[in-house]
Amino acid sequence: MNELTRHFRDFFVSLQLTVALLILSLILVFAATLDQVNLGIWAVQAKYFHSFFVLWQVPNTEFALPVFPGGYLIGGFLLANLLAAHIYRFQLTWRKTGIQLAHSGLILLLIGELVSGLMQRDSNMRLDTGETRNYSESFRDNELAILDRTNPAYDEVVAVPEGVLADKGVIAHPKLPFTIRVKEYYPNASLGMRDPAAGAGGPVATSGLGTRVMMLPAPMTYKQDERNMPGAFLEVVGPTGPLGTWIVSPQIGMPQTFAFDGRTWELALRFRRYYHPFALTLIKFSHDKYPGTEIPKNFSSRVRVKSDDGKDDREVLIFMNNPLRYGGQTFYQAGFENNDHVTILQVVRNPGWLLPYIACIMMGVGLVIQFGLTLAGFIRKRAAAAAAVAGSE
């Protein structure tokens, strides 16, 4: 082994590196916690944990400087350090099983967190009493849906992610006989009644609701309980020329349709939908309060699950701390609205959900063995010392 590889190896197996990385992670977690006040929990996760470097935007410029290692970098190094130290120092002895088990558990936990970070998808399902839905909606992402509504039995949908709108280009799709030009896009905007006296400037909608309603750009919100409501001006262009300009926003409840090429089309900017191969129907939502207070005691939703393949059709009760795991998704009781008529279920897909459970058991057992051995050794030594003192007296 040459000098360089040895240095390299010594670096990666050293406890000094472990300590340094742990301290860095501590600082990272602390800073991220403080920054939640400014950025909210989602932005903080992206900035601090799901990144290789924490970037600092130089004020009034486009530049961002890396100022601190991010979660992926520290986590990656910790993983490398753990694996290297394990392989290098591996000994199959009783005394070491505890430590090894605990650290293997930690490795699994880090991998599990990576899997969650990459694969976890959160959405929610809002169900009115008696309503049936086979999709859930994203908390944060939106999509432009162009629906062919000609056939009353089903809709043909082309969904375009919000990011494409933000690029303000031209959207074309083989299934669409027209193109869509994004004239303007706002990441967050509210709607107001259109005031004819208001001065010109910016695009003007010529069709649909936009003829009566105007869009007021708003600053982005980072609060945990608020979401950004994007808005856009879209010009639909057919082979022979523009068909009109529409405004779209998730705040528009009514469908905006137009006819073209003998078919009926609808434009909607909506919360991004995830369709499931099964549908849920809310039978009843209930919630109790403690007597003499407004403090909720429990929430529960009785729902019917019906799979598309017809293999499942049953009733389930979802309540706090008792979610429904079905079809790779987990449904949790998250909230309610409208005088107990509407339930809000949180829907999570996380293929790695079992990893933390396994990791925890490994770490717990490992630490109990390790510290148990230490304690046993300590007691044995004291007993021996006491016997020695007693013997010498």
Binding site: L15, L26, F30, K297, N321, N350, G364
Partner: protein, 619 residues
């Protein structure tokens, strides 16, 4: 003689605790002890009036003692009796706490007119109530995180006044001079009044006076119903559903339909009459009746309610607090003189105080039907309990006074914190739906809290090491080694519990919100404790630190734990806010600063340490 010192101390301590258990003697003819056991339903459970009185006083004025204008000191139950039955008298007691000068200015009251410069009577503030209401409404519109200290205080004062008014309107109508007579007259006038109202509705001839009287009464009853706080009236005889307790206003409004005033309300009206008239015999008879007629119907709840009244009076946590101080002093003196006797005495007293807190915590658990930790207050009790438990084990093993010193200090400190946390109201509160899981409260919360207490304990042991080493010559080699082993062992213990606790929290989160980890401030706080304990252990295993480094790092553990315990809760208050400068925040900052200072002291070169001057230890 000094051989018997430990025994003597133990006996004295036990006698002190025993004295708190004895039922308090009534100071007058009025059996206020019985009165304080009368049950009402409030905030989701049946409580004795004693709890209502004490928690209301803590909320309204920040302490349980009430001083009357003529200098008499009132029991909480006595004060409550005045509030319910003789409000005009209660209005002169200076009980409303105002702690902000701008608010005092706004109300144009001077600190020197208040009790202790900060407590004022309802009479003093009455004129300015509309102003308080107006300012509080303005402040309500400001997001909580952005409120100034003035706005926060205005809201707090408004809430205190609100609670005060609610209590006052729990039994009697507002401005009632003689409630009993008024009720009797009302009952008598009722048939004619109902006839008059019906006639008026039909547009027939009617007595305008009778209608007016009825309307006035109805208005006053609805006012009481709106203020709705204490539910004093139990459900009808055959009904034992706890949720059917109602407030006096609602039940009085029912009288228009039933024609008869509810019997319980009549009893309360007579009780008030007796209280105002100084008729102790009648008062005592009625309190017993109000209590006993429910004892059978709500047997399980009433057993708890009675025990709770007793528990309130015994105040085990306050007595333990005094014992812990004594333990601390005895143990510290044991290093200077009579190590055997004082040391053993301290140990016995520590055990005694710990048993008292254990009984207190168990009683609370039984009352609530919950695991030990359900809110910030109980976490403080439990952190102290677990840390003192560990100290007892350490002291049993090492017999060098260190465990007792740390136990006394941590026990006292946590109970002091608990006292301050209790000022926000009833500490036996109902659990919100998401927390309503005894399994997770019993596993995750308890484990994580034990992790907190172990981390604190390691930190306090380290402080003992540093102070004794730097400032005294008492840290000999054996003691230094013993302390190092203790701190190391406790850090191991802390790592184990905080890690398992954090991970269990993750599993709970996965069960109820669908994600194992969400980088939420409280989660991050727990994680930071785990990481810091892991740093200490790895630094020690890697030989990066030795004894002194271990101690310095353990002290930093105090900062990390305090941040997780309190700092993360303050984040919700918002770093942006001017109101961020809360008193609790100052306390936290001061604590962090003190710990940093101790760490700096620990960094004094070893040869300057008093204990190591002559013979440097292998530290």
């Amino acid at each position: 003689m000094k051989r018997f010192l430990p025994l003597l101390l133990l006996l004295l301590g036990a006698a002190y605790l025993g004295s708190t258990l004895a039922p308090q003697r009534d100071q007058t003819e009025f059996k206020l002890n019985d009165f304080s056991r009368v049950p009402v339903l409030v905030n989701g459970r049946i409580k004795p009036l004693d709890t209502v009185a004490r928690t209301s006083l803590l909320t309204i004025q920040g302490r349980q003692r009430v001083i009357t204008p003529d200098g008499r000191s009132l029991l909480p139950a006595e004060w409550l009796a005045d509030m319910l039955f003789a409000p005009a008298k209660a209005d002169t007691y200076r009980t409303l706490l105002i702690e902000n000068h701008e608010v005092l200015d706004m109300l144009s009251v001077k600190p020197e007119d208040g009790d202790g410069g900060k407590r004022f009577s309802y009479v003093q503030l009455k004129e300015k109530l509309p102003e308080i209401e107006k300012q509080a409404r303005l402040a309500d519109g400001v997001e909580q995180a952005l409120r100034t200290p003035f706005q926060k205080q205005v809201i707090t004062v408004r809430d205190r006044v609100m609670l005060y008014l609610q209590l006052k309107a729990s039994v009697q109508m507002p401005d009632s001079v003689d409630f009993l007579t008024e009720l009797a007259q009302f009952e008598k006038a009722l048939p004619a009044g109902v006839v008059a109202i019906l006639a008026k509705q039909k547009g027939e001839a009617h007595s305008a006076d009778a209608v007016k009287v009825m309307k006035e009464m109805a208005d006053r009853f609805s006012y009481m119903e709106q203020l709705n706080y204490l539910h004093m009236v139990p459900p009808a005889d055959d009904d034992t559903d706890v949720t059917h307790w109602r407030n006096v206003g609602t039940v009085l409004l029912d009288t228009f339909g039933t024609g008869r005033v509810n019997a319980t309300i009549m009893d309360y009206a007579k009780l008030g009459h007796a209280w105002r008239g100084g008729d102790a015999t009648e008062f005592n008879r009625l309190t017993l009746r109000l209590h006993d007629q429910l004892a059978v119907r709500f047997a399980p709840q009433m057993r708890k309610s009675d025990v709770e009244a007793r528990f309130n009076a015994a105040q085990p946590f306050y007595s333990s607090m005094s014992l812990y101080v004594l333990v601390f002093l005895l143990a510290v003196f044991s290093w200077l003189k009579w190590p055997q006797e004082l040391g053993r005495g301290a140990f016995w007293l520590l055990l005694l105080a710990w048993i008292a807190t254990t009984v207190g915590i168990l009683t609370r658990m039984w009352l609530e039907g919950r695991p030990p930790v359900t809110n910030l207050y109980s976490s403080s009790l439990f952190i102290g309990w677990a840390a003192v438990g560990l100290c007892l084990i350490l002291e049993k093993i090492y017999r060098n006074g260190i465990g007792s010193t740390a136990g006394g200090a941590v026990g006292f400190a946590t109970l002091l914190i608990a006292h301050h946390l209790s000022l926000s109201g009833d500490t036996l509160e109902m659990m919100r739906a998401v927390l309503d899981s005894n399994f997770w409260l019993g596993t995750h919360v308890v484990t994580v809290t034990i992790g907190y207490s172990a981390t604190y304990l390691a930190g306090f042991l380290a402080i003992i090491y540093i102070f004794r080493g730097v400032f005294t010559r008492t840290l000999d080699q054996a003691t230094a080694d013993a302390l190092s082993r203790m701190v190391y062992g406790i850090v191991c213990f802390a790592t184990l519990f905080s890690l398992i606790g954090t991970v269990l929290g993750g599993i709970w989160a996965d069960q109820s919100w669908g994600r194992f980890w969400g980088w939420d401030p409280k989660e991050n706080g727990a994680l930071i404790i785990v990481i810091w304990n892991a740093v200490i252990l790895h630094a020690r295993w890697g030989g990066i630190v030795k004894a002194r480094g271990l101690m310095t790092m353990a002290v930093f553990g105090n900062i990390v734990t305090s941040w997780s315990w309190f700092g993360t809760n303050m984040l919700g208050v918002g770093l942006h806010s001017y109101g961020f400068m809360d008193s609790a925040f100052y306390a936290l900052i001061a604590f962090v600063a003190s710990q940093l200072l101790i760490m700096v002291i620990a960094l004094v070169p070893l040869e300057k340490w008093q204990s190591f001057r002559t013979a440097p230890a292998a530290a």
